[in-house]
Amino acid sequence: MDIAGSLIGLRDEALARIAQAPDLESLDAVRVAYLGKKGALTAVLRGLKDLPAEERPAVGRVSNEVRDAVEAALAERRAVLERDLLARRIRAEAVDVTLPGRRRPLGRQHIIHQIVDEIVDVFVGLGYRIAEGPEVELDYYNFTALNHPPEHPARAATDTFYVKDQSGGATGAGLESEVLLRTHTSPVQVRVMEKQQPPIYVLAPGKVFRRDVADPSHLPQFTQIEGLVVDEGITFGDLKGTLEHFVREIFGPDRRVRLRPHFFPFTEPSAEVDVSCAMCGGDGCRSCGGEGWLEVLGCGMVDPNVFRYVGIDSERYTGFAFGMGAERIAALKHGIPDLRLLIEGDMRFLRQF
């Protein structure tokens, strides 16, 4: 048998085995069997040098063609097998994409503090700083310096929590002492004005206390946010514009605002601020009690008597103040039916917001 013939025979044999190789390992075995150091094809090629010179070119050409054909077939088969292998792996790794993800649930901020932070951010944007004051207050800051006459009903022991005075100060008639749990955040106004001359732009969020039994619409402890501005040239229009900005930021740009004249001892003029009902847009519906408006805060121009207590010249400076309850805003915005949910620490409630 001539060499060329045996080369062709080896080629056909190799190509057949390559085509049948089931996986990459078998394929590699085929490669070694033919093209390896001791491979069949390698052995034939090695024998070429013993051929007579005149036969070499022809046989050489054939042998090159055979080797090229085998190598090409190996590469092609390898590509096919690799593709198959990857495809199998991908099939095997497919998951049920509807299974829940692996996670550690994030904790939630209390809805009241979300609201407080949101409001704080609005006013920080308007150039306010945040002021704080004690939760246990003196009557002077909570009432007197806020222009509450001595017989003001809010001072009643039925409404205000009084605290035992350890300084030996006399406890007045009945239970009233000079020390109490602040009933609003307004005393912070007085403390700020005592310490600082205008311009003053502050927001004072904090806890306040009233002697109410906890029920769906009352809590003995709740959260107020107080605002105070004192500067030259502050007008009632500034108060109005500020609150309109605030309401739109917090309740949405479509909400309307109205100021209804009202009375507070420490502001003059005073007003209550209503926001148009989100449900009916002001026409009146069940959620706003048919009024079309929801009361959200109280406000007014700082009363000259308050300025007198803190030694600010009410001819030179004017100012405004406002206060609102975070719980009420939470109830309105989120439809919370019972305020007691806010203080119970029920995970099922806390995790909703």
Binding site: G237, F263, G345
Partner: protein, 810 residues
């Protein structure tokens, strides 16, 4: 304040729809809380004329009538009453009408005859008490007209919220004046005429005011020969419309004038008052200790010295401004009436009313303030009405003790300043006309208005009070909205406030949910927890707590958080991760205000998450709480810090530590003591910590310095030390670090092993544990060779073994 629109219209024209009036009142400071339309129940009741009245063929006591109600055919009605005859006009309830009793009229067969309606009695219509027969109407009653309209029953009652600064609006006339200002209408004054007869009051009554501060004015009149009886319908209706109950003509007149003008009056039975030499002596004085008075409501009241009484020669006869005495009240036997019209100190009436828990229409008005100038006018008005209705004679004159007459206040309103203050441009004549309708007379003086404020507006004391009057009537909605234009302001949070926010962010990232607990605390719980108060420190005590469980203020957030854990568990929630940032309170002898501290409290109970498809839940413990703490302190840049074993009554021994940062104890961490868990009805372990937020802030680094990122590879070697069990991981790690300089760059504990108690096979010597560390060596300027590191490492391991008494684990 209940306002009858019909009554109101006597004083001012209300020519706008009720809805508009309500809106205008709301927007000018008098909130209308409710609008009630009365007379609606009589819808379907019309006036009919009885054309024929025949005996019912099947019933002796019934008649069968034909009644003209203005329709083409007369109605046929079966009737049981007998007090009427053909031609009489009576109210007829048509089929479909509903009477105040709730009875709806239907077509019905009565003893075989069909009845197409019902003729009504006063009682059936709810307009009187007479149930004995039909309400027969005057001949001029128009047939077919709705009865309610004919009888004037239809009225609209406005419930007004009158703010405490507006005592003048606690009367019909006062509200009329306000409405006049709001609608731009003038008011009409009530009119009366008084024709006195007989002996002058001066010679029969003497009044003395002992304490003019508490009673600036007292007036008395006499009306003799009064016939006590029921009030006429118009008066009784008004009394009902105002929300009171008709009693008799004299009492009703005093109430009528109270509602009309706002002046509380009191009528005494003159003959029940002590008299001396024909003279009735009235003394207004403070009650004497131990004095008692039975008030009109039949309750005997113990009086005290800060209460004001009206006394005659024998003792107190009325509680000034609050309620009269039972013994001297006007009754059916009364003939002569002494009419008091006075003015009392607001605070005194308020205190008395509160102390006795006794609130009356009179005290409500006095504690808000009643114009002293009104006393004589109202007295005359009431005397005239009593004489008119009760037929008595009014004695000439009035006893009028008025030591310090009220003066109208004069205030200059600077219009330019008002506009600068409000941000408006209201013309001074417009302001003047608004004020005029409110009863404030003003005269222009340049740009200003010189205003005379009437005595019925005690709330108008300063110029700014007048600004408010102008702007509320002019319309707050018309004030242009602006924002303050000040230059010197920069908004923002300070460091502590930012830190507090950051703490929340990190804890939430760790999976904790924020709780807001109550500041109240039960001292027995504080004792059970064993919280240590400092030397001389005490709990803050409330003088008027809601309950003994809330009698003090909290010293820690832990009890409140444990409550929340317990509550969650009761509701079937077992995985609980809560934190709270809030204040705690302590005081000490000599302190007025307590010390308030902001603390951060946290509790972990159950697992992080419920059973998941990818992992089993693991019960949270000490190290989960410590992990949260590490994350937090790391984020805040608190360094160095460590946990130190500590004993705390509220924590389980052996799982209890102090958090020490920069040498200061800033809080504690541990697992809650089992007995405490039982006391709080909590199942399973609770890991908790509490930190002082201010101390935390002090320990937190403001700025972090850049550290070179390593450019050369590290060599990592692991080593397991076997140490006595009482040697802490920290001791070993500290030793490693101290011997590692300069090449050791990182030390990480990656395995802890101890033979379980009672394990059959021991892998370590008795009383020891194995701590395996991964050590990383690195030089900043070159790649270390294995050989170099191995030498360093072996020396280090040996020195650590010597230092902490360790052997190497094989």
């Amino acid at each position: 304040m209940r306002v009858s629109l019909k009554w109101l219209k006597e004083f001012v024209d209300v020519d706008v729809p009720v809805e508009e009036l309500v809106e205008r009142l709301d927007m000018t400071g008098t909130k209308v809380e409710q609008v009630v339309r009365t007379g609606q129940a009589l819808h379907g009741v019309v006036i009919g004329r009885v054309l024929r009245k025949e005996q019912h063929p099947n019933a002796d006591k019934l008649s069968y009538c034909q009644v003209d109600v203005g329709t083409a055919e007369p109605l046929r009605i079966v009737c049981g009453a007998t007090n009427f005859s053909e031609g009489d006009k009576v109210p007829v309830a048509l089929v479909g009408a509903t009477l105040p009793s709730g009875l709806t009229i239907k077509r019905a067969k009565l003893r075989g005859l069909e009845s197409e309606g019902m003729m009504c009695s006063a009682s059936e219509l709810g307009v009187g008490s007479d149930a004995s027969g039909l309400l027969v109407l005057p001949d001029d009653a128009p047939v077919g007209a709705p009865y309610a309209e004919y009888a004037g029953l239809g009225d609209t009652i406005l419930e007004l919220e009158v703010t405490p600064n507006r005592p003048d609006c606690l009367s019909m006339f006062g509200v009329a004046r306000e409405v006049g200002a709001v609608l731009g209408r003038d008011v009409r004054y009530p009119e009366w005429s008084l024709k006195p007869h007989g002996e002058s009051v001066d010679s029969q009554v003497a009044v003395e005011i002992e304490d003019p501060d508490l009673c600036p004015r007292y007036t008395a009149r006499l009306i003799r020969g009064v016939r006590i009886g029921p009030s006429p319908d118009w008066l009784a209706e008004r009394i009902v419309a105002a929300g009171a109950r008709p009693i008799n003509n004299v009492v009703d007149v005093t109430n009528y004038v109270l509602f009309e003008l706002g002046q509380p009056l009191h009528a005494f039975d003159l003959n029940a008052l002590a008299r001396c030499d024909g003279l009735t002596r009235i003394v207004v004085r403070r009650a004497q200790p131990g004095e008692r008075l039975t008030t009109l409501d039949g309750v005997q009241r113990e009086l005290s010295e800060d209460m004001l009484v009206i006394a005659d020669g024998s003792g107190p006869v009325a509680l000034a401004g609050v309620m009269g005495g039972e013994d001297t009240e006007v009754s059916e036997r009364t003939v002569d009436v002494l009419l008091e019209s006075a003015s009392f100190d607001r605070a005194c009436i308020s205190r008395t009313s509160r102390a006795l828990g006794l609130i009356s229409e009179s005290s409500l008005r006095f504690e808000r303030g009643v114009d002293p100038e009104l006393a004589a006018v109202a007295s005359e008005r009431a005397a005239a009405l009593i004489a008119e209705l009760g037929g008595g004679e009014v004695a000439p004159g009035i006893v009028n003790v008025y030591p310090r007459p009220a003066k109208a206040r004069r205030i200059t309103l600077r219009c330019p300043r008002m506009n600068a203050f409000l941000g408006t441009s209201i013309a001074s004549d417009e302001a003047g006309s608004i004020l005029r309708r409110l009863g404030i007379v003003s005269e222009p003086l340049g740009d200003d208005l010189v205003c005379t404020v009437p005595t019925f507006r005690p709330d108008l004391e300063r110029e700014v009070d007048l600004y408010e009057e102008v702007v509320r009537i002019w319309g707050m909605e018309r004030v242009p909205s602006t924002l303050p234009g000040g230059r010197e302001r920069v908004g923002g949070l300070d460091r502590a406030q930012r830190l507090e926010r950051r703490i929340g962010v990190v804890l939430r990232a760790c999976g904790l949910n924020e709780h807001i607990g109550l500041a109240f605390e039960d001292p027995r719980r504080v004792a059970a927890c064993g919280f240590d108060l400092g030397e001389g420190e005490e709990l803050v005590e409330l003088l008027n707590p809601m309950s003994s469980e809330q009698s003090h203020l909290r010293v820690s957030t832990l009890p409140g958080l444990l409550d929340a854990v317990s509550r969650n568990q009761r509701h079937g929630v077992s995985d609980i991760h809560l934190y709270e940032i809030g204040r705690v309170f302590r005081t000490a002898a000599g302190r007025k205000l307590p010390k308030e501290r902001v603390v951060l409290g946290a509790v972990l109970s159950g697992a992080w998450d419920r059973q998941q498809w990818y992992e089993r839940p693991r019960q949270l413990d000490f190290f989960d709480a410590k992990g949260v703490l590490e994350t937090l302190l790391d984020d805040l840049g608190v360094s160095p810090w460590r946990l130190e074993e500590a004993q705390h009554r509220w924590l389980q021994p052996g799982r209890s530590a102090d958090v020490v940062a920069r040498g200061e104890v800033i809080g504690w961490l541990g697992e809650v003591a089992p007995d405490l868990l039982a006391a709080f009805e909590v199942d399973g372990a609770v890991a908790a910590f509490e930190l002082d937020v201010r101390s935390l802030a002090r320990a937190a680094v403001g700025t972090r310095r850049y550290e070179e990122i390593p450019r050369h590879p590290a060599v990592k070697l692991d080593v397991a030390f076997v140490v006595p069990r009482e040697v802490s991981a920290e001791q070993v790690a500290t030793a490693i670090r101290s011997f590692g300089k300069p090449l050791l760059s990182e030390v990480r504990l990656f395995d802890v092993y101890a033979d379980p108690d009672g394990a059959p096979e021991r892998r370590l010597p008795e009383g020891t544990k194995s701590l395996a560390f991964s050590l990383e060596y690195r030089a900043p300027d070159r790649t270390l060779s294995e050989d170099e590191v191995r030498g360093v490492h072996e020396r280090l391991v040996q020195r650590v073994c010597e230092k902490v008494g360790a052997t190497l684990r094989g």
